[in-house]
């Protein structure tokens, strides 16, 4: 058993213990600070941040595994957004880690007005659907301005937060900013940030799909009708097999995306992974509800904690349509001559002379 297996088992056990159905029910429309505390105390919230900034100095794949597991357990904490997006931005800006979740506020589509000021900009305006904004003491603001990305650390009390939720009952708030300071980050584009956010969302989805398939297999084996378990019926067996294929494909896409981002060239792989996971999510959720029958459709049963998240998450950080458009444009630019060699079978490249941003 290698180190990553050990990490995965540790996180899985921790979340099994601290993130059961009662915790999920209680955290709807809010979050579970106790779960965050457990993760933080175990050093799991800053795993891939450089050691000299107070992090664990681990590989991206370690954080990716933790994200996937929080997705699996539907953990009501901003682990994914904090660890993969906010802390990454913070690290690029040379920020040391601090206790508590750092929540990213991504204003990459011109949502905020910007005024040059003192070597950077002052920005104002509202950003919608910000995950977890209401619970954060520290917001990491990333703004697309003048062909670059500018970043600033904003105190949670210095902004106005209007609460909202996604269809899974997770906090998705409107953050209104009045004159926050941001400074340009070298070598980071809005696309880089979007890719990073999409990677986090994909990891969560893959984990949730694993959980949904597990639940479906257990239900099929335990539930009996017509004198035998559902698992003896060919239709059900084939549904399970279809789900397994979707989960395997989504996981493969995610693994490839993590490798590519770690190698500094993540756009194609992440776009592909988000597309694939988005498609899988709908299929897997639908089949799971069929297998579970009426009981799976209730509030009392745990299935909805995962399926509503799948439905919500596939629409966040770029839908399949968005990322398929990005990927398709790349493929068409590569053309017939470059489709295989440049797009699909190309080994990840490091762009010459550029700081590694992933």
């Amino acid at each position: 058993m290698d180190e990553r297996d050990l990490l995965i088992d540790t996180v899985d056990a921790l979340l099994t213990t601290h993130c059961g159905p009662e915790v999920l029910q209680a955290a709807r429309g809010s979050w579970a600070p106790a779960v965050w505390k457990e993760l933080e105390q175990a050093g799991l919230t800053t795993v891939s941040v450089a050691a000299d900034l107070g992090g664990g100095g681990g590989a991206l794949a370690d954080t990716a595994a933790i994200v996937r597991l929080t997705g699996r357990h539907a953990a009501p904490v901003p682990l994914a957004e904090s660890a993969l997006v906010a802390l990454w931005l913070g690290e690029l800006a040379g920020e040391a880690v601090r206790p508590g979740p750092a929540v990213p506020v991504l204003a990459l589509g011109g949502e905020l007005t910007s005024t040059p000021a003192g070597g950077g900009w002052t920005v104002s305006g509202s950003v919608h659907d910000v995950p977890w904004a209401r619970i954060a003491q520290r917001l990491v603001l990333a703004v697309a301005v003048d062909d670059t990305v500018a970043v600033g650390l904003v105190d949670g009390t210095a902004v106005d937060v209007a609460e909202g939720t996604n269809i899974a009952g997770e906090p998705r708030d409107t953050v209104t900013i009045d004159g926050a300071r941001v400074v340009a980050l070298d070598g980071v584009s809005a696309e880089h940030v979007r890719v990073r956010a999409a990677l986090a969302r994909t990891g969560l989805m893959v984990g949730a799909m694993e959980r949904v398939l597990d639940l479906s297999m257990i239900y099929a084996v335990q539930r009996e009708q017509f004198g035998r378990p559902l698992a003896r019926f060919q239709v059900i067996r084939h549904y399970i097999a279809e789900m397994a294929g979707e989960v395997a494909a989504a996981r493969a896409g995610f693994d490839a995306a993590v490798d590519a981002v770690a190698a500094g060239d993540g756009m194609v792989a992440v776009a592909a992974a988000k597309v694939r996971a988005g498609r899988s999510a709908g299929e897997v959720a639908g089949l799971a509800h069929q297998i579970h029958g009426a009981i799976g459709f209730t509030d009392e049963h745990v299935l909805h904690h995962s399926t509503t998240r799948l439905w919500a998450w596939r629409d966040e950080d770029g839908t399949e349509a968005h990322w398929a458009g990005v990927l398709g444009r790349r493929a068409v630019e590569a053309g017939a001559a470059g489709l295989w060699s440049g797009c699909i079978a190309a080994p990840p490249l490091r762009e010459h002379g550029e700081q590694e941003v992933s």
Partner: protein, 387 residues
């Protein structure tokens, strides 16, 4: 019951060594030269239907058949990852490699695993040279998905066996020299998997007749092979008597997981990208993106299976998944392409789009049936998950 993440799990480190990437570029360069020279035209399903002794000999001469076999049998002494890279490039090019495909993919490895030294020396150098071609005798008129119910029998006799029965769907048996035949050598159908053996049969033996089975396009590559009391010498037995089922099960994992299970319609995808690029605008771009996303995930899965097999694992579950997903993807390439490029525009330019689309659509059913129907595969997956 184990969690699904554990059951589906494949290894993490899938980076290809620099030597494999160098090999890839050599193969790609060679195929590009041959294509430009007009030796072949890229086609869908070419790995299955395109029988070209000329191309197979050229590939063999360069050491690209049997690259992972020991050199003392004519192989390249390299790894399964090198083979994977060559395979991918041949498929991406839509090259006609059917002649040596079965040998390279499964019969050669079968000889390595179960064959005698004599058999290996007799067949493998010629296979690696692209000169000896093997067909497969598995399905029968009354035994398709239920393969173990087969009725072809080999009775032991002085000096070997006498083989009688009928095999169907044997691709290229009319142009191969040898065929591996799964037959019953002991017991009856009631014994199911027990009592089956694999025999290597010379297709020019007296008592062997090969008859074409044409598919709905009129093309001939499938055959019915009738064995009428054919004399098979003792040295024709591959492996142990009664071990035939176990032996082919290992072959099936190899057969099912390879990139040919999702790359058959890649030549059409290439033409689709070309047609959309020529046309300009945004139409078809998202559709291409979705297909490319699927292809990337499948490639990763398939490579992970190849790495697992190379490490001595037997990922039958994952292999079945790759083929189920892959063949459905192959069909989707055709279904999507026809909606992106209108009929009136399909013979534009060199007409290649129209030709590839026709191939993909007409040949689509085959992918879901050969090497295990998708329904059988899903049953294997469900069983492997502990259902």
């Amino acid at each position: 019951m184990k969690g699904v993440a554990d059951l589906l799990r494949l290894g993490d480190d899938l980076s290809l060594p620099p030597s494999a990437e160098e090999l890839r570029l050599e193969v790609r360069g060679f195929l590009e030269e041959e294509r430009v020279r007009g030796t072949y035209t890229p086609r869908c399903d070419a790995w299955h239907t395109g029988f070209s002794p000329e191309l197979s000999r050229k590939l063999g001469a360069r050491g690209w058949i049997g690259i992972s076999w020991p050199t003392r049998y004519g192989g390249g002494g390299r790894t399964a990852l090198d083979r994977y890279v060559i395979t991918e490039e041949l498929l991406a090019a839509g090259a006609p490699v059917a002649a040596h495909w079965v040998s390279d993919r499964q019969t050669g490895p079968g000889l390595l695993r179960y064959g005698t030294e004599e058999q290996r020396h007799r067949f493998m150098p010629g296979m690696a040279a692209g000169e000896i071609y093997f067909a497969l005798g598995m399905s029968e008129p009354d035994s398709g998905s239920d393969l173990a119910s087969l009725r072809t029998r080999a009775e032991p006799c002085d000096g070997g066996w006498r083989l009688s029965g009928t095999k169907v769907w044997s691709s290229h048996a009319h142009t191969c020299q040898f065929i591996t035949v799964l037959c019953r050598t002991a017991g009856t159908s009631e014994d199911k998997h027990a009592g089956l053996s694999q025999l290597i049969v010379d297709l020019s033996s007296p008592g062997v007749s090969v008859r074409p089975i044409r598919i709905l396009t009129g093309a001939h590559h499938f055959n019915e092979v009738v064995f009428d009391d054919v004399s098979v010498p003792a040295e024709g037995l591959l492996g142990e008597p009664g071990q035939g089922w176990e032996q082919i099960t290992a072959e099936l994992a190899l057969e099912r997981s390879g990139p040919e299970r999702f790359m058959s319609t890649f030549p059409l995808l290439v033409e689709l990208v070309e047609a959309v690029a020529r046309r300009g605008g945004h139409g078809g771009v998202e559709a291409i993106g979705e297909l490319v996303a699927e292809l990337l995930a499948l490639r990763r899965l398939s490579l992970a299976v190849a790495v697992a097999i190379e490490s001595g694992e037997a990922p039958g579950l994952q292999a079945a998944l790759v083929k189920d997903l892959g063949t459905r993807f192959e069909r989707r390439v055709g279904e999507v392409s026809r909606l992106v490029i209108e009929p009136g525009a399909r013979s534009d330019h060199d007409g290649a789009f129209g030709e590839r689309l026709a191939e993909a659509v007409l040949l689509a059913p085959g992918a879901h049936l050969r090497g295990g129907t998708n329904e059988i595969l899903r049953g294997i997956v469900a069983k492997g998950l502990g259902m």
